[in-house]
Symmetry: C2
C-alpha cells in the first residue's frame, strides 16, 4: 500500500513535468506478444511526420523492442527491469531527462508485457491504452477487468487471425464496454497498419 502511494507521488511529478512541456504521453499495456511494439512503431511512424515523437520500451531484458521502434523513426530509450513485472514511475522519472523535453510533442511508453501488474503502477502518463490480441482467445477481457478500468482506449489487435481463432470481435468489444462503458475500442492489424489512424485519433494525438 505504501509502495503504491510512493509510486503515485512520483507519477504525479512525472505527469506535471510532461504537462508543463505540453507533452502528450500514453502508457501502453498488454499481455506478451499482443502487439504493443508493432503498434507503437506504427503510431510513431505516422505521428513522426508532423511531430517530435519519442518512446520508452520496458522489458525484463534485451533491447529488441527499443531497436524495433527506433527503426520507425522515433527516439527510443529501453528500460530493463531485470525481473520486475512492470514499469514504475521512478524508472520513467529517471528516463525523462534523457529526452529534449522542450522539443518533444508525444511520448509513447510501452510497458512490460503483463496484463495484471502494471495496473497498480501508474507511471505519470495522461492516459493508458490496453492492447489485447484475438490470438489470446475469447476470455482475456472478462478475466482481467481491473486493467481496463484505468484505460481510455483498447486496441483489439491481430484481427486478421480472429477467424482462425474462432473469436467474435463484436463480443470482445462488448466485454470491454461492459467493464468500462466510456472506453474507446479500436480494431487493429499491426502488420498491415489497419486501424492505426483510428487508434491515433481515439488517443487524441491527432491535434
Amino acid at each position: 500500500k505504501s509502495l503504491y502511494n510512493k509510486n503515485e507521488a512520483i507519477a504525479s511529478i512525472n505527469r506535471r513535468l510532461l504537462e508543463e512541456h505540453g507533452i502528450k504521453a500514453v502508457d501502453i499495456l498488454g499481455s506478451i506478444g499482443s502487439g504493443k511494439t508493432t503498434i507503437t512503431g506504427c503510431m510513431a511512424e505516422i505521428l513522426g511526420k508532423k511531430k517530435a515523437v519519442a518512446a520508452l520500451a520496458g522489458d525484463i531484458t534485451t533491447t529488441i523492442d527499443a531497436d524495433r521502434i527506433r527503426e520507425k523513426g522515433a527516439e527510443v530509450l529501453q528500460i530493463n527491469t531485470d525481473g520486475g513485472c512492470h514499469l514504475d514511475a521512478n524508472m520513467v522519472k529517471n528516463a525523462l531527462p534523457m529526452f529534449d523535453l522542450e522539443q518533444l510533442d508525444i511520448l509513447l511508453i510501452e510497458n512490460v508485457g503483463n496484463l495484471i501488474c502494471p495496473g497498480g503502477y501508474p507511471v505519470g502518463a495522461q492516459q493508458r491504452m490496453v492492447v489485447v490480441s484475438t490470438t489470446e482467445g475469447p476470455y482475456m477481457i472478462v478475466k482481467h477487468p481491473y486493467i481496463f478500468k484505468d484505460a481510455s482506449v483498447v486496441a483489439i489487435n491481430k484481427i486478421d487471425l480472429a477467424a482462425a481463432m474462432e473469436v467474435d470481435l463484436a463480443q470482445l468489444k462488448a466485454d470491454a464496454l461492459t467493464i468500462k462503458p466510456d472506453i474507446r475500442v479500436v480494431f487493429t492489424n499491426g502488420r498491415t497498419g489497419e486501424g492505426i489512424s483510428e487508434l491515433i485519433a481515439a488517443l487524441g494525438l491527432t491535434d
Copy 2:
C-alpha cells in the same frame, strides 16, 4: 525476500504432502491465452482414463477455466486471486485438503496467466511446465529467460498458426535450449490434441 522465503517454506510443506501421497503435481505457467487451460483439459482427459486426475485453476476472477477443465472429466477447484498476479504456496496449501489425497494420482495446477511473476513463487509442485504460443511472436522466449530456468518442459503451442505468424518453430526450440539445455521441448496444437501424448510423456506422467 522474506515473503519469498515464507512462500518457499509453505511450498516445501505442500511438496512433502504430495509426495507422501504419491501424487505427481505439475505447475503450469504461461502468458495470457497461450493455451494452458486447453492443454490441461487435454491432458486430464487422456490421463483420466487410467488415473485419478484433479486440477487447480488460478485466475484473478471468474470460474471459466475451472469449468472448462471440469468438462474434460477432472475434479477441479478454481482459485481466484482477486488481483494477485500469481498463485502462491499458501493458496495451494488451502486447496489441497479439498481433494481426496488418498485417491489422487495427478494434480495439474494452472497458474495465473503471466510469464513473469509466478517464476518467483513456487507452489510445491515437483515440476513446472511453461506454455508459450506461436501467436506471441518470435521473441517471447529470449525476452523471458528467468521463467524457463525452473521449468522441466516447455510446450510451444498453436503450431497451426506458426506460418500465419511467420514464426520459426526451430528457432523457438533453440531459444529455449539456449536458456536451459536440458529442458524438454514439445510442439502442440491444443485444439487438435497434436503433441499432447508427447507432452504427457515429457512430464513423466505416463508411469
